[in-house]
Amino acid sequence: MANGAALEQNTSSLWGGGRQPFGASYGKMMMWFFLLSDALTFSGFLTAMGLYRFKYEETWPVAENVFTHFPFLHGEHPLLFVALMTFILIVSSVTMVLAVNAGHKMNTKGVVLWLGLTIVGGFTFLGSQAWEWYHFINGDKGAIMLEDQTIMYFTKAGSEGEILSVYELVTGQEKPHGDHSEFQTADVISAFGLNEDVTLRMPGKEKITLSREEAKAAMANAKLIQGAGMRANEYGNVLFADFFFFVTGFHGTHVFSGVVLNIIIFINVLMGTYERRGHYEMVEKVGLYWHFVDLVWVFVFTFFYLV
């Protein structure tokens, strides 16, 4: 190593020379590469869901039969609540851009205001997701699981596959708003035997409906399912709820860590760390992560609720 000494002399001026690859700082570039790998992770989850959705087309539930609640509103309102959640996340993305924008102008008060609002938006989204999970886990109409683990909805013959709630089947009355009473499998089976016009249908888009005789035979060793868990759910194929918990949970974890990062940066802004450093690039880097969380939600929204 004859020229080792010469090398040592030069290294200090190599990266410190002020010329950056791609004209982006180390931290910003690494945030981009992390987001690139995270995007591939999320696409792995979503396409895996696509695989099973295509495989179990007949028993894969339709989103509008699953997510129907809206706070303080009676009746069925598919899509409205997730649309609100999307709106909340878009708004918090806008406040984040405004915070970055204020940082470029070295406007500390502006960064505090907009970053603070972004944190509020993040918590609002997390609260909405908790509400969504609560209703998903508690369930709504209830369904029957046949001996071969297939989930079937109750429906009245000739009603074009409209789902009959277990509550209505057993009590004969329309299910009241927010009712979570639990029923026994035996009561459901006897009520099914008494109502000659009730049959079973599959959860899928095609609404494959059994005849009354087929349904009677299928009900022999059936089991009532109310709500959703990892092993069974009233909406349809077991994997549907598993993917729902996993993908929205993984996204929610990202939102949560984004809020934590935002809070750390917020405290640093209040303490004047970036004012002293001379630039607010840290707000920009965390902002990239926050926008990415919004970006992933745009895809989760499409592939869980729309398509």
């Binding site: 791609f22 004209g23 700082s25 396409t47 696509g50 495989k55 899509l79 649309a83 970006l295 398509v307």
Partner: protein, 117 residues
Amino acid sequence: MAENNAYPSEHHEGPEGTKWIWKVFWILLIVTTVEVALGIIKPDFLMGKLLGTSLLNIIFIVLTIAKAYYIVSEFMHLGHERKNFIWTITLPIVILIPYLTFILLTEGGYMNVLMNQ
């Protein structure tokens, strides 16, 4: 770290003011509203089959990619970075994700056919 912090990224001149931010906000909001409206109404003339799914679903996916473009290009500022950086980030995504999607969805459809035989 201290050394890196001394060199923030080159400042790429983006549009001045905050007007462009609100413009992107309205685009995202309107596209989402259109998606929700289509999802609730589900117009019959959009339910025809195309590329193994309904025309409506294709519209949803196109609108979603449009939203993603605005978020990445404007909010994440990637559209205003250097060209070689833009390609470094987008090319792996543009090549790998459609490839994975194509393989998994095709195989999923095939598994469905096998299962129902």
